[in-house]
């Protein structure tokens, strides 16, 4: 197990999530893509912490990333609920009011 291996695994997770976030039409599926991207970030941060500077401070960064993931999920579900109630749809293509 090396730092390079960990970072490549995390890059794979990040890019799978990126594909999902860009390609999916359903809001909840887009959120799944974002979750996968953050999953990769958590793994990369843990690997960098372990292999480069395993001081306690690094763990705090992981907690912050997990918090960001929690906030993203909560707000995503709230927006999906609002969108579904107001437009009877949960598709991103139906919520383009702010585009362009």
């Amino acid at each position: 197990m090396t730092l390079e291996a960990v970072l490549i695994a995390s890059a794979a997770l990040f890019c799978v999530g990126l594909y999902g976030a860009l390609s999916q039409q359903v809001v909840v599926m887009v959120m799944m893509g974002l979750e996968l991207m953050l999953n990769g970030v958590i793994l990369a941060a843990a690997g960098l912490w372990w292999f480069l500077a395993p001081a306690p401070d690094g763990q705090v960064l992981l907690l912050v990333v997990i918090t960001a993931m929690t906030v993203e999920m909560a707000m995503g579900f709230a927006v999906a609920t609002l969108l579904h109630r107001s437009r009877e749809s949960d598709m991103t293509d139906m919520a383009t009011d702010l585009s362009g």
Binding site: M1, L3, E4, A5, V6, L7, I8, A9, A11, A12, L13, F14, C15, V16, G17, L18, Y19, G20, S23, Q24, Q25, V26, V28, M29, M32, G33, E35, L36, N39, I42, L43, A46, W49, W50, F51, L52, A53, P54, A55, P56, D57, Q59, V60, L62, L63, V64, I66, T67, T70, V71, A74, M75, F77, A78, A80, T81, H84, R85, D90, D93
Partner: protein, 186 residues
């Protein structure tokens, strides 16, 4: 050696489950695939002796995926959530972009001269994390706490079907109140 084999196994499981999220037939199965990916990453964190963070990740994400499954079935209706579906746009462009980003990341990872490890991990990482967030990094906790509270409030305001903003308008000045139902007392 065993940890390296276990790491690669978990990395393959996490990535394959991540791919499965966008390949399986139904959203309900996609939710479980994402949960598997998160559990694999959580176990990988345990390989770095990050017991607290790893267990938090596993517990939180399993619960989150259970909630996500409920939301999907709720929004999509029971049948669409469990039946084959494909709701994508710009599939080819997204795949090319994601592949390009991966190649860029992988190249950078392999080319960067990573420095030597500095310092050694504490004997009890959970205790050292607790001492850090209650000591030198307390500002992080002081920031995270109001952010989470604000998230709670904002999520409830958005999701509430008949809140004060529905009845009294965005500036809370609409009289008489309107909105869903009777709009409250007139």
């Amino acid at each position: 050696m065993i940890s390296a084999v276990l790491f690669w196994f978990l990395a393959v499981v996490a990535t394959a489950a991540g791919i499965a999220v966008f390949r399986v037939d139904s959203m309900a199965r996609a939710t479980y695939a994402l949960a598997v990916s998160f559990v694999a990453v959580g176990v990988m964190l345990l390989l770095f002796n990050l017991e607290y963070i790893g267990v938090i990740t596993i517990l939180m994400m399993v619960m989150e995926m259970a909630i996500m499954g409920i939301f999907m079935i709720m929004f999509m209706g029971m049948n669409p959530a469990l039946m084959p579906m494909s709701m994508v746009h710009n599939k080819r462009g997204s795949a090319i972009l994601a592949s390009g980003v991966f190649v860029g990341f992988a190249t950078a990872v392999l080319l960067v001269p990573w420095p030597e490890r500095r310092g050694t991990p504490a004997v009890d990482l959970t205790q050292s994390l607790g001492e850090t967030i209650m000591g030198s990094k307390m500002l992080v906790m002081l920031t995270v706490s109001p952010v989470l509270f604000a998230t709670l409030v904002a999520a409830i305001v958005l999701a509430n079907p008949r809140g004060r903003y529905d009845r009294f308008g965005d500036d809370l000045r609409r009289r008489p109140p309107t909105g869903p139902g009777e709009g409250g007392p007139r």
